[in-house]
């Protein structure tokens, strides 16, 4: 391990700038402490691994084109088709078959919208098309938290500081104890209960999480910023609530199906919430995924950042349909390495990433959906206790 002298300067500083640029990667060297799972790698090996992964990214960039554009447009069409047919069926929800069909289609539509469309478009995976209708700066999703708030906590904080305890609040969402290094408190006994309550109302949990109340309380977020976020959330919540729980049932009154329509939209949102919660918990919580200390990211190079993404994330194995319904977050490792590559390309990248992991002696965690969900829940239970 290299010795860090206290006078070490970042390239920006040595260039005569005194501005602090949190998050800027070091050009060379190594973090103060390399994570245990990667401690066997030398600086040169990590740099080489970085170059190999860069090459994979370049290869996809060179291929990306009309076919990919057609893919996302097809997904958008399918999603909108599901959405209007599902909602239409709920309008005559008195009929049981119509209710089941409507609720199913609407649930599928909402899942597709949040995962394969919203999450990925908001990552900027499709910005390269320069289409203002499919762009990270214009897209708004069918989820309570406003896109812009989520992009900040997710794209920037979570993806930059993946699994770094104290920097990435996605480790437990300020609600659950999800790392054994976090000091135990009696309230952590409620871990499983909190998580069970969170799952069906996941979108509201994320909306509150994106307000960054802890940062506000500890003085890292200004009152103005919080008020602005609250206002945006209020506006979004009202329109979302009105659509599903007022306008749709009101229209269904015409056929005397108001109550059924309301239950349908409630069920669809709950199903989507439980699904999204499960998929997202499979990303960084199952057995095999590591968390990191702040020392491990100090002086981190691009190569070390790549390493951290691989050993801190977990994939889900399964069918093509399953991959699409998870928004390709089943390729969480590939997504974390290349957050802005189009999601339809992760499957083709996966074998190459896996091969790199094997060659460098790094773990590549993956497993079927139920096993991974079980593993994440096991951690929720285990860490409820000291």
């Amino acid at each position: 391990m290299s010795v860090i002298s206290p006078t070490k300067t970042t390239p920006a500083e040595s260039a005569g700038s005194t501005r602090k640029r949190p998050g800027k990667l070091a050009e060379s060297g190594s973090p103060t402490v390399r994570p245990p799972a990667a401690a066997h790698l030398t600086d040169e090996q990590v740099a080489e691994l970085g170059r190999e992964l860069d090459a994979i990214r370049d290869e996809i960039l060179a291929k990306r084109g009309a076919e990919d554009a057609a893919y996302i447009r097809r997904m958008i069409k399918i999603q909108r088709g599901l959405e209007i047919s599902g909602r239409a069926a709920l309008l005559v929800g008195k009929n049981k078959a119509a209710w089941v069909t409507g609720t199913t289609l609407l649930s599928l539509a909402k899942i597709l919208e949040n995962m394969e469309l919203g999450h990925n478009i908001l990552h900027g995976q499709w910005d390269w098309m320069r289409d203002p209708d499919i762009h990270s700066t214009t897209w708004e999703w069918d989820f309570v938290t406003p896109s812009r708030s989520w992009q900040h906590t997710h794209n920037d904080l979570h993806h930059r500081w993946t699994n770094v305890v104290g920097k990435d609040n996605d480790v437990g969402y300020n609600l659950l104890r999800m790392d054994k290094e976090t000091p135990w408190k009696p309230k952590n006994l409620g871990n499983p209960l909190y998580n069970a309550i969170l799952a069906p109302i996941f979108e509201w949990g994320i909306a509150v999480y994106d307000l960054e109340l802890v940062d506000y309380r500890e003085g890292r977020k200004s009152k103005e910023a919080l008020l602005k976020d609250l206002k945006a959330l209020g506006r979004k919540a009202i329109t979302q609530f009105t659509k599903d729980y007022a306008a749709t049932p009101a229209l269904a009154m015409l056929t005397g199906s108001a109550k059924q329509a309301l239950f349908g939209t409630l069920a669809a949102n709950a199903i989507r919430n439980v699904w999204a919660h499960s998929v997202i918990f499979c990303g960084h919580f199952p057995e095999g995924t590591d968390t990191f200390t702040e020392e491990m990211v100090e002086g981190e190079t691009r190569g070390d950042w790549y390493v951290r993404q691989m050993i801190g994330s977990a994939n889900i194995s399964g069918s093509k349909f399953m991959h699409i319904m998870t928004g390709n977050l089943s390729h969480q490792i590939e997504h974390h390495l290349f957050p802005d590559l189009p999601s339809n390309r992760y499957a083709e990248v996966a074998p190459k990433v896996r091969e790199i992991c094997r060659r460098y002696g790094l773990k590549y965690t993956t497993g079927p959906l139920l096993k991974q969900v079980g593993s994440a829940w096991a951690k929720v239970f285990r860490l409820a206790l000291p």
Binding site: R21, R64, E67, R80, D133, D340
Partner: protein
């Protein structure tokens, strides 16, 4: 119309966060909440190299004045590219662009456009338009520079018996000369319109170094309000001639200020050359809204350059993954520090944290 808007507003309660147009676009591609679109209705081959593309624009388009141009967005391998094209149809008629196959975007338009295709549009604009009051006119055009002038001639000549128009059009060969038959018919039919072709393949380029050749074609050219459109060198030469003869008749100040030109010569330039540095040269970065200019090297992210200059730059991960720093590019090109690719179209959003200046760069922020 108002009822339609109210209906759309009511419908948005059910479609939010989408707009009703996003749903309607499933059935008719001309609908979009964010982007003006048009559907191609007809494609007419003009010469071996060029075609006229007629389109029906969606709501939000405004009728063009003769001589104006519009920005047209075309997709090449999934990526949208924007170019400006003059509208060649007369004012008051359905819009059409006449495109000549030069460069990737124009080539794709000429070769692959079919009726039913969708074009992305921006409303017509431009000051290269007919004078407000009737005046004798001289039109000087070369190559595809005839397109805006064709709109003017089609608007003016058949409708105004008092019009007095001379067109001098330069093209390499008769076969490459746009609108040749229609122009000949107009000249036959309307005595107030005179047509002079100049084929450079046979006679060499029209010589503006002295007034001799122009005197020969149009002896009273000095008394006419002149409009010129064509390649840069053609326009530069014409401008020089007008400057030398110091024609200040008409409303020179206005003509000069509005579309460029000299004296009573109004010109329209097609290819404004953006001097793009090829690689690691860096360049002058201009932050327009912040009113700051900084000389940047070719390896420093524009984000850092802006921050050091005190510009309030949006920022996030600083490694190119989160897209928090997207800033609109107004002009110039940038180099992607990860891939080395030099890119940049006006209006494109760039990731300032991984982009360095490749030549002079103007940013909106």
């Amino acid at each position: 119309m108002i009822r339609l808007r109210q209906l759309a507003q009511a419908a948005s309660v059910l479609t939010t966060p989408l707009a009703p147009e996003d749903i309607l676009a499933l059935f008719n591609p001309v609908y979009s909440a964010r982007q003006l679109r048009g559907v191609v209705t007809r494609v007419v081959q003009e010469t071996a190299q060029s075609a006229t593309i007629f389109f029906r624009p969606g709501r939000g388009w405004k009728a063009h004045l003769a001589g104006q141009w519009a920005r047209i967005g075309v997709e090449l391998d999934g990526v949208r590219h924007w170019r400006s094209y003059s509208l060649s149809t007369p004012a008051g008629k359905d819009p059409a662009i006449t495109v000549t196959d030069v460069g990737a975007v124009s080539g794709t338009l000429v070769r692959t456009t079919r009726p039913g295709d969708v074009l992305f549009l921006a409303p017509p604009q431009g000051d290269f338009v007919l004078p407000e009051h009737p005046r004798p006119l001289l039109m000087l055009t070369a190559g595809s520079g005839i397109t805006p002038v064709m709109s003017m001639i089609r608007t003016l000549v058949p409708r105004r018996p008092d019009a007095d128009v001379v067109l001098v059009h330069s093209a390499r060969t008769p076969g490459e000369s746009l609108f040749r038959e229609e122009l000949a018919e107009l000249a036959d039919q309307f005595p107030n319109f005179r047509l002079a072709h100049w084929f450079t393949g046979k006679r060499g380029r029209l010589d503006f170094s002295s007034a001799k050749e122009l005197d020969g074609i149009c002896p009273d050219w000095k008394d006419r309000a002149a409009y010129a459109c064509g390649p840069d060198s053609f326009l530069d030469d014409a401008e020089d001639l007008w400057k030398r003869t110091a024609l200040t008749a008409g409303t020179p100040g206005k003509d000069l200020a509005v579309a460029g030109g000299s004296g009573n010569l109004t010109i329209e330039r097609f290819n404004t050359n953006l001097s793009a540095g090829a690689g690691h040269d860096g360049g002058l970065v201009t932050f327009e809204a912040s009113d700051r200019e900084v000389e940047a090297d070719g390896d420093t992210p524009i984000l850092d350059v802006g921050e050091d200059a005190g510009v309030l730059m949006p920022s996030g991960c600083r490694m190119g993954i989160c897209h928090s720093c997207l800033t609109p590019l107004l002009a110039g090109q940038v180099r992607d520090l990860r891939t080395g690719e030099v890119h940049g179209d006006p209006g494109q959003l760039i990731q300032t944290c991984v982009s360095a200046a490749a030549g002079p760069v103007n940013l909106e922020i």
